[in-house]
Structures are given as C-alpha cells and as structure tokens.
Symmetry: C2
Subunit: 364 residues, 2 copies
C-alpha cells in the first residue's frame, strides 16, 4: 500500500521492550531498578491527588467532560489569564502537535535550538516542514534572530529551561527577542520545567500573562508531568491570545484528556505546597550532584530543572556508560542521539542519587 510521500521522512518507530524488562534480563529485581531517565517527580504526586483519583475510579466508564471547565478555570486562575486563553492537551506534546498542524505545512520552515526537545522535530516532520536549527548549544537569541530575519520561519520554538540541557534564558532577554519578531511568526515558549527555574532564579521566570498581554503571536506551554508529578496522566496546556487558541481548538480531538487525568490535574493545582517541597528537595539534591561532579572533575551544565546533564570527556563514551549503568539497574538518558557525548540524569531521591554516585564512580 502507498502512503503519503512525507511518510518516507518519518523514521520507523520500533516499539521496544520496556527498559525495566531489559534490565531484568540482567538478573536485576524490579525493586532494585532505578530509573532516572524521564525527569519524573521522584516524590510522586500529591497525596491529595491520589486520594481524589481513587474516589472516582468508578467513573471510568463516563466520557471526560469535554469542556474541561474545572481544570481550565484552575489553570486560568493560576496564571491570571482567562479561560479562553487556555487549551489543554494530552501532555504539552499534544499542544505542540496542534500548533504545528495549524500553522505549518510542507512549505513552512520551523526554527529551533541546535539541541532541544525532540518532539518539535518529530511533529514538524509530520507536516513535511523544513527544520532550521541554530548552532550553539544553549539558546543564542542573537543567532535565532539572524536565522529568523533570513528565513522567515512560520514557527520558532524556544524551550526555557531547555531539555535536555537544563539551561534557561533570562526573561528580559526573551522579551527583547520577542518584540523583534513579526506577528505572523508563531513563537512557542515551552516552559515545561519553568516551576523549577523560578525557584532557582527569579530572573528566569516567564509569566504567561505578560506574554499574552504583550504579544499576539506567542504561545506559552506548561505541563503537569514534571513538578506536579503527573507524568503518567498526560496533561499539558497552551496559553495564548484567543485567536490562536481558537485555531488550535479546531484541531483538538474531543476527549483528548481522560476523566481521571482531568481530576488529577485539577486537584494537583490545589496543592502548591507539594510542588514547592518537591522543587526545594530537588535543588537540595542537585547541590550533591554539583559537589560530586566537582570532586570527580566531570562537567555539568548549570541546570534550572529536575535533571543534570553530565558532559563526558572525549575518552568516555556516553552510550557505553549509559549501557554499563543499565547493566547495574540504573536507567539514565544517553544523549548521543542529540550529538552530545553526555548523559542526562534525573535528580532523584536522596537514596537514588547516592546510588547513582556509587555506580558512576565504579564505571568512570
């Protein structure tokens, strides 16, 4: 059977075995496997959330409230915007999918950082758009502007803090950049890890309310998967002016967030204490990483997130090292597919991090 021509450029997905199963093949018990690969909140989610979800498990037969009224109003209150400025996706990933399909096609160019969240490129390929990248590892907004002026991309992705490197942009610099962009270019400010950045350094805080007030062409993305501890529930959101939100709504499939996920996210918003405690614990543990790499003379990138990126020296090979850790039951992210000789490690609980330090010392 013939499929669309653009399908040839999308690489075949290989449905792998769960990595936990791979580790088990090395004879490691499930309880001894530590996964520091997906930047999940190591403290789980708020107990208020798990209690609330437990209470409504008998409602699994009922379709979700497709207006998402309660959650939408929780998000709009949290960010001091209006309900009409909010669209909710199955993870912020899905909002990325919506906006690429609404704005870009095979004649479009999409600009992003040299190293950044992989889904931007994947969804861009779905519509056959041309991908433009900067050359520098951290977001260089001057370079972004140079490429923008020359190429006039339909969409620019700014990821701050950036995944998988962890660095963040000063909000003032970002606003200066945004003010130079033509209103017909959609700029996406992906703040999936923003809650972490704000606590570490107020200068990194990008307020969606200000973005919306100042710019007609900017959308802010946020997620419940990281600081809010709901990675398994797939809830993210986009915040923008209503004309953008209305267009994205045209592409949103009905019932894109489950009944239990809506409840979980809504209740998660009511427990900011849990979120704050998670972030405080995160940076306290991150200090241990900083001390450790200092002792071990490993380079890391200053991180505004819940992960650290260890840049290895040329005599070390990130794939090999991730493989050796895997054999010992420690799952981390090898960044060789990003053309980096580095591994990305989620900052876990105290015990998990201690174990990481032990294992990486054995290996290096």
């Amino acid at each position: 059977m013939k499929f669309n021509a653009k399908m040839k450029d999308i690489k075949n997905y290989e449905a792998g075995k769960p990595i936990e199963l791979v580790v088990r093949e090395f004879g490691i018990e499930p309880k001894d496997i530590i996964k520091l690969a997906s930047n999940e909140n190591p403290y789980g989610c708020s107990s208020r959330v798990s209690e609330a979800v437990s209470k409504i498990v008998t409602k699994m037969s009922l379709y979700p409230d497709d207006s998402m009224m309660d959650l939408k109003s929780g998000i709009s209150k949290r960010f001091e915007v209006k309900d009409e400025n909010v669209i909710i996706g199955s993870g912020s990933d899905q909002v990325i999918e919506f906006l690429i399909h609404a704005k870009a096609d095979e004649n479009s160019k999409i600009l992003m950082n040299s190293i950044t969240f992989a889904m931007y490129e994947i969804y861009a390929k779905h519509v056959g758009a041309e991908i433009l990248r900067t050359t520098s590892q951290s977001h260089d907004l001057d370079e972004f502007y140079e490429i923008y002026k020359k190429e006039k991309p339909a969409i620019i992705f700014i990821c701050t803090p950036n995944n998988p490197t962890g660095d963040a942009i000063d909000s003032q610099k970002l606003f200066d950049f945004l003010s130079k962009i033509d209103s017909n270019t959609l700029v996406v400010v992906d703040g999936a890890y923003m809650e972490y950045a704000i606590l570490k350094d107020a200068k990194k805080e990008v307020k969606p309310k200000e973005l919306i007030e100042m710019f007609e062409n900017v959308i802010y993305l946020g997620t419940f998967s990281k600081a809010y501890g709901l990675g398994g529930m797939r809830v993210g959101y986009g915040l923008a002016r209503t004309d953008i939100i209305k267009e994205l709504y045209k592409i949103r499939p009905p019932f894109n967030v489950t009944t239990l996920s809506l409840e979980a996210a809504k209740v998660a918003l009511s427990d900011e204490e849990f979120v704050k405690n998670s972030i405080v614990a995160n940076f306290s543990e991150m200090k241990r990483y900083e001390e450790f790499v200092n002792e071990q003379k490993i380079d890391i990138i200053d991180s505004y997130t819940n992960f650290v990126t260890l840049c290895l020296n040329p005599s070390q090979n990130s794939s090999q090292i991730a493989g050796l850790l895997l054999k010992k039951g420690m799952i981390v992210r090898d960044l060789s597919s990003y053309n980096m000789n580095a591994i990305r490690v989620t900052v876990g609980t105290k015990e998990q991090n201690t174990r990481f330090f032990e294992l990486i010392q054995e290996i290096l």
Copy 2:
C-alpha cells in the same frame, strides 16, 4: 496571524459548558440528571478494573510504558493476531487520526456512509481531503462499490454496527465487498460496537484475524469505551497487517495512553464475564424499548449496539424534543446535525430506561 489555508474549512469548536451544568440551570439536582447521550456502559466498568486502578494511583507520576507491551499482548491474544498487528490509540478515534494522516492529503478522496461516525469527516478535513458519501441511510455496499469504482478513494470507512443508526452489515457481504477493492485503497472496518452485534446475531461478527489474513489493505478498529465500560479512559486499537501498523506507528505520539488507562484496559480484558453480562442486560432492556415504541407507534432502527435511534414523524422535531427532555434532566442525542429527524438514546439501566419512557410519553 495567518494559519494554514485548510484551517478555514474546519469549523470553530465552541467549548460548551458541560451539559450536566446546563441541566442544573433548570433547577435539577445532579443526582436526578440521567445521561443517555454518549453510549457509555450504564453498568460502569468491571470491579476488577476499578480495584486494579486504585492500587496504582501512586504511580501517576511515572510515564506510561510506551511499548504498551502488556496491553498489546492482551489484545493480540484476544483476537488471535500477533503483537505486531496491533496499534493502540487514545480511543479508536486516535487510530482514525493516524490513518488519515498517513494515507490521505488534500488530493485524496475519502468515502463513507451518508450517516456515520462524525470523526471520519472531522479528521478528513484536517488533511484537506475530499469527502464522498453514499446516499442511503444504512451501508449499501453496492453503492459504496459504484462510488469506489468511479472515484478511487484513498480510504473507505465502513462502520459496523454503524453509529448513530445502530444497524450492522452481514460479515459475508462485507468480505465480498472487500475482495473487490484494490489493495491501494485502505478500508477501515470500525467495530466500536461489535461486541454487542456478535451477541445479537453471529452473522454480523467480523473477525479481525480473518480480515488480516485475507486482506492486505484492511484495518479493524475496536475500543474499550463501550462494552468494556472505559469511555473515560480513552483506549482503542487498530488491527491490521504489519506494514500498515508500522506506518501508523510513525504518526503515533509517544505516551498517547495514560499509565492508569493501560492498566484499566489490560485488566478489563481479563473480565469477559462483566462484558457479557453488560451486553445481555443491554439487549434485555432493548426489548423494553422495542415494546415501548411499538405501543407508541414510533419507528426505530433495528439496533446491534447499546443505543436505539428513534425516528420521529414529520410533525415532531428532534431538536425540540431533545430540548424538552433536557429540561426534565434527561440528556439524549439529537441527530438533526446528521440530517435526521431522530434522537439517539443509550440503552441505560432498567430505572433509567423507565424514566425515559415516562418522560418521552409526557412530551410526545
């Protein structure tokens, strides 16, 4: 901001208030509202499922197993196919989205029944494809074939049992039709309500295993939203030969089904007793609808699903009648948007149906 030209053809989604809230505005207590509008399983879901999900609520922070290994193998065993023949979506809706994006574009034609599941058209518009429809209310496969021969559509949708009419095709007739279709046309056999049809009349059973063995160009769709009682959890699947599944996988976003949804669907497959009991109860209650409409001289379409479609006479107006029912706290589906003067009513529990009979008698 300018968006893609095709966006103009996609109508603006109006995020409405939850209908329960609308009813409450009529002064009706939530407990007195009966919703027979979304063909949910009125018996909920298996208690095994709600127990299993309750046990893992603390895992909401963990990303879903993206290989979906356990659920995939449950589905492949259930249908006697291989894991490689299975793709799992956020509802079977999402599999429809995948296949339209993989196979169709603005130069394609997509053929479907005059009256059928609304999402086929909605996703077809997302890629700008031309929509072709038959003229007859129930699937007339001769008419499908005539249009197919003339127009050579990229995709043909066959919905059996059909939503929102409830009628089903004899599988033998379907297989005869399929054998005449060129292998480059993708035929989608949507069996969202198939579990119901099978119990009512074995001649309606379409076995995915046989479809896959006989045809290289056919995909079967199934869902956990109806008989399995998991409408709120968004889990559906497509079954086809591996070359089709591989293409669809290219479009699947990672983590498209939540951690709790994967568990729910997996456990649901282990309780076929619950499913069977739900279906037996459904047809026992449907008999009461048949008797009722017989007495009241209302036409219904012979239904192989968990809903009945009441065709009103020209002196009655379906929108008006659905509106009057709404004011009394009874939510049903007005089919005027399908150009039918009819209402679709989910066959509910005994009490719910009795209440429907009372209310519709008051109104008609």
